[in-house]
């Protein structure tokens, strides 16, 4: 596979390490009421869709960026690639806005 890195352009997926669902960015609040249950769902449950999947890839043999890649798990077509750092900043911004 080839991942179109937002900064570097197309790079062989072999340079990357795969982690899993991008929802791993949305780590629950450790002090929330159902922390145990929230963390259980966060860490263990997956949508695991057949189709579009937002997922985390780490450019380990490259620039060490974590990326959020939206990829179709049936065709492997890659629909978008973002820097996970940007995605995470948006998530935290959303959180503090609440």
């Amino acid at each position: 596979m080839i991942i179109d890195h937002p900064l570097l352009g197309p790079r062989d997926a072999q340079e990357f390490t795969y982690l899993g669902d991008a929802s791993l960015i949305n780590r629950p609040d450790w002090q929330c009421e159902n922390a145990l249950s929230e963390f259980h769902d966060y860490l263990y449950l997956r949508d695991n869709p057949a189709g579009e999947h937002r997922e985390l890839w780490y450019h380990e043999q490259g620039d060490r960026s974590w990326l959020v890649v939206t990829r179709n798990t049936v065709t492997h077509e890659i629909l978008s690639v973002e820097l996970a750092h940007d995605v995470a900043k948006a998530v935290t911004a959303g959180r503090s806005a609440k």
Binding site: L7, L8, G9, R11, D12, Q14, E15, E60, Q61, G62, D63, R64, S65, L83, H85
Partner: protein, 187 residues
């Protein structure tokens, strides 16, 4: 002055040089390295400081620049590797820190890496047997961090027939072995 004698990444007293066919492979030891990573929100300040003090304009992603005696390779978002000759700039990290001040995190990287300079007309034939970098379209001044021989490396195109490779120093022997084997294959 201390009395400790350095050895090369290939564990020699002097750097190694190989000629195989049209290809020459040179172990380069006269190189000091320091990484600079901008502190949060300080990238512009840091870049300005380096430009002002040593005339080094940090390159875009995927590129490297030279402002002799310094050079810089893009490493990652807001992170670069600065190079300079070791003999004259052994304390490069301190020099850079001095310039960047609180705008950057600076880390000595000199001996984290080995460097081999490969030159010769068969350069592209050689590198297309070693890495997925598009070596035939890779212009001088590009620098790609990728894998080669199962190692994470920087490929820095210095000229059409000249490539520098930076790789983890501990694996210099394996890298050199791979370069030599590929050179023999195309010789």
């Amino acid at each position: 002055m201390h009395n400790l004698k350095a050895i090369t990444p290939l564990r020699g007293v002097t750097p190694r040089l190989d000629h195989i066919g049209t290809i020459s492979i040179t172990e380069v030891v006269d190189q000091a390295l320091a990484s600079v990573a901008a502190r949060k929100g300080q990238s512009a300040v840091m870049q300005q400081a380096l430009a002002d003090h040593i005339g080094l304009h940090l390159p875009e992603p995927g590129h490297a620049v030279i402002a002799a005696p310094f050079g810089a390779i893009w490493m990652g978002p807001d992170q670069w590797m600065i190079t300079a000759p070791h003999d004259s700039h052994e304390l490069l990290a301190s020099e850079v820190k001095e310039i960047a001040g609180r705008s950057a995190s600076v880390v000595e990287q000199t001996d984290g890496w080995c460097r081999f300079d490969v030159a010769g007309v068969g350069l592209c034939d050689l590198f297309e047997r070693l890495s997925n970098a598009p070596v035939r379209t890779m212009a001088p001044g590009s620098a790609i961090r990728t894998t080669m021989e199962h190692l994470g490396v920087f490929l820095w195109r210095l000229a059409d027939d000249h490539m520098a490779i930076l790789a983890p120093r501990s694996a210099a022997g394996s890298l050199h072995h791979g370069l030599v084997a590929a050179a023999r294959s195309i010789a």
